[in-house]
Symmetry: C2
Subunit: 296 residues, 2 copies
C-alpha cells in the first residue's frame, strides 16, 4: 500500500539536502546569499521537484538522475515567488508564514536574490556534464524545456496576465489560459524533465504531459478554493486576499461548488492518463488525489 505522506517526506529530505549543497558558498555571510537561502529554504511544499522525481520513477528511471533538474525547478519557482511578492507586483508581506523576501531584507536585495536563483538554476543544470556527449545533449534538452516553460511564452507571460487581469471579470477560458501559463507551464516542465531523464518513450511522455496539464490546473483550482475557505493558520498566509484584490478565481467565476466539481474531474482525468502505468506511478497517482484533499 503506497503511503504518500512518507513518500513526500523522504523526497523532500533528499531535495532539501541537495539544495543546501548547491547553496554552499565560501562567502555565506553575504546578504545576497542569505536572501537566496532564506526564500529557498522557507519550507515550500516542493511540489515541482517531487513531481519531477516521481515522473522519473514512473517511467522506470532512478530518481537520483533527475535530482539536479528537480532542484533547478524549485529555484525557478522560488525566484518567481520572490518577484511576484514585490510591492510593484502582488505586494505580499507574508509567504509560507514568514515575512516575504523584500520585507525580511529589502526590495533591491529581493529583486537580486530572485535574479540570482533563476541564474543558479541554469548554473546547476549546466554543471551536470561529465564527458558523455549523449548525456550533454539530454541536459541541453532539460535546459530548453525549463527555459521555455519559465519564459516569456510561459510562466512570465502568465504573471503578466495575472497582473493585467486584476479587477477584471475573466471568463473561465481566460482564467484557464492564465493559469496554464502562470503555474501550468512549469509543472508540465517538471514532469517532462523527470520523464526525459528517466528514459521515457514517446507514448509515456505524451501521457505524462496530459497528466501534468490536468493536475496543474486542478492544483490552481484547489488553491483558489483554499483562498476562500482555507485555514490561515494551516496555510501560513492570509485567506480571502483574492477577493479583496478583486481577482477572478475559479470560485468567483464558477461558484465554490462547481469549482470543487471541476477540480475533481481534472484529477479523475489525470488518473486516467496514468492507467497504463504500473505501480511505479503510484506516487503520481497519490499526488493527484492529494491536490483536492490538501488543507494548505
Amino acid at each position: 500500500m503506497f503511503e504518500l505522506t512518507s513518500y513526500i517526506k523522504q523526497k523532500n529530505q533528499i531535495i532539501d539536502a541537495s539544495l543546501e549543497k548547491m547553496l554552499r558558498d565560501s562567502n555565506s555571510s553575504k546578504t545576497l546569499f542569505k536572501a537566496m537561502k532564506y526564500s529557498l529554504m522557507a519550507g515550500g511544499k516542493r511540489i515541482r521537484p517531487v513531481l519531477c522525481l516521481a515522473a522519473c520513477e514512473a517511467v522506470g528511471g532512478v530518481p537520483e538522475d533527475a535530482l539536479t533538474a528537480a532542484c533547478a525547478l524549485e529555484m525557478i519557482h522560488t525566484y518567481s515567488l520572490i518577484h511576484d511578492d514585490l510591492p510593484a507586483m502582488d505586494d505580499d508581506e507574508l509567504r509560507r508564514g514568514k515575512p516575504t523576501c523584500h520585507i525580511a531584507f529589502d526590495e533591491a536585495t529581493a529583486v537580486l536574490a530572485g535574479d540570482a536563483l533563476l541564474t543558479l538554476a541554469f548554473e546547476v543544470l549546466s554543471s551536470e556534464y561529465f564527458g558523455d556527449g549523449n548525456q550533454a545533449a539530454q541536459w541541453l534538452q532539460v535546459i530548453r524545456l525549463i527555459s521555455v516553460a519559465a519564459g516569456y511564452q510561459g510562466m512570465i507571460q502568465g504573471q503578466m496576465l495575472d497582473i493585467a487581469s486584476e479587477g477584471l471579470k475573466l471568463s473561465a477560458d481566460d482564467l484557464e489560459t492564465m493559469h496554464r501559463l502562470k503555474t501550468g507551464a512549469l509543472i508540465e516542465a517538471s514532469l517532462a524533465c523527470g520523464a526525459l531523464l528517466g528514459g521515457a518513450d514517446g507514448r509515456q511522455k505524451a501521457l505524462l504531459s496530459n497528466y501534468a496539464c490536468k493536475i496543474g490546473l486542478a492544483f490552481q483550482v484547489a488553491d483558489d478554493i483554499l483562498n476562500v475557505e482555507g485555514n490561515p493558520e494551516l496555510m501560513g498566509k492570509a485567506v480571502g486576499s483574492d477577493s479583496q484584490r478583486k481577482k477572478s478565481t475559479y470560485p468567483s467565476v464558477l461558484g465554490v461548488q462547481a469549482a470543487r466539481e471541476f477540480s475533481k474531474k481534472l484529477v479523475q482525468e489525470a488518473l486516467q492518463a496514468l492507467e497504463t502505468f504500473d505501480k511505479q506511478a503510484d506516487p503520481l497517482r497519490g499526488i493527484a488525489k492529494y491536490i483536492i484533499e490538501r488543507k494548505r
Copy 2:
C-alpha cells in the same frame, strides 16, 4: 589597415538582425514582449557580443559559430540594466537617451521583462543543439560560463556591492573587486565563450582571459571618467550622477589624471596579452584602444 568603426558597424548589424529574429513572436502585441524588445533594441553599444565574436575570430574560428552566445550575452546585459534602473536600485529614468523600461512601461513590467530576457538567453543557448554530442557538450560549457559569470558569485554580487557601497568611501582595491564582479565577469565570459566556440587551445584561452580582465576594468575606469567629464548629449544620459549619489569612482578615489593613466596602463597590458596573436586579433586590439578614446 584595420578599421574598427566599420568592423563594429558590420558586427552590430549581424547581432541586431539575429536578436530581432530571436525575438520574433506570434504575439508581438503583448506588453511583455514590447518591453523586452524596447530595451533590447534601444541602441546599446553591443560591446559584449562584439567581444564574443572578435574572440572567436582571434583564435581562427568563424564568428557565426559564436553568434547565438553573443546574443545571449547581450540579453543578459540588457536584463541587468533594466533591473539596475529600477526605483529600488539606481532609480534611473534615462538610459541611452530614452526613458528606462519602468518609465516607458511600468515597474512590474520592467521586472518581468528583465526576468524574461534572462530566461530567453538560456532558451536560445539551449536551442543550438542539432544532434551532435560534442556540440552539445560545448553549448553546456557556454551555459555554465555565462550562468556563473552572471550569477550570485559574479555580476549580481557586483550589483549588491555597488548598492551597498553608495555613500561609502571605497579603497581602490574594493572598487576593483566591485567592478570585476559587476561588469568584469560578464565581459570575461564574453571572451571565454567566443574563444571556446572558435576552438581556442588552452594557451589562447588563458591569454584572452587576461585580455578580458584588463579591458573589463579599463572600460569601467573610462566610464567613470566619462561620468565626470563626458558630453551628456553624446552619451544619452546625465553626467555627474555618480558624484551626486556619492558613489566611489576611479576619478573620486584616484583623481581624474591618475584614473586616466590607470586606464591607459590597463589597455597596454591588454594589448600585451595579444602579442602572440596574428592579425585576426586586430579587432580585439582595436576595441582595447577604443575604450580609452570613446566619447560615450
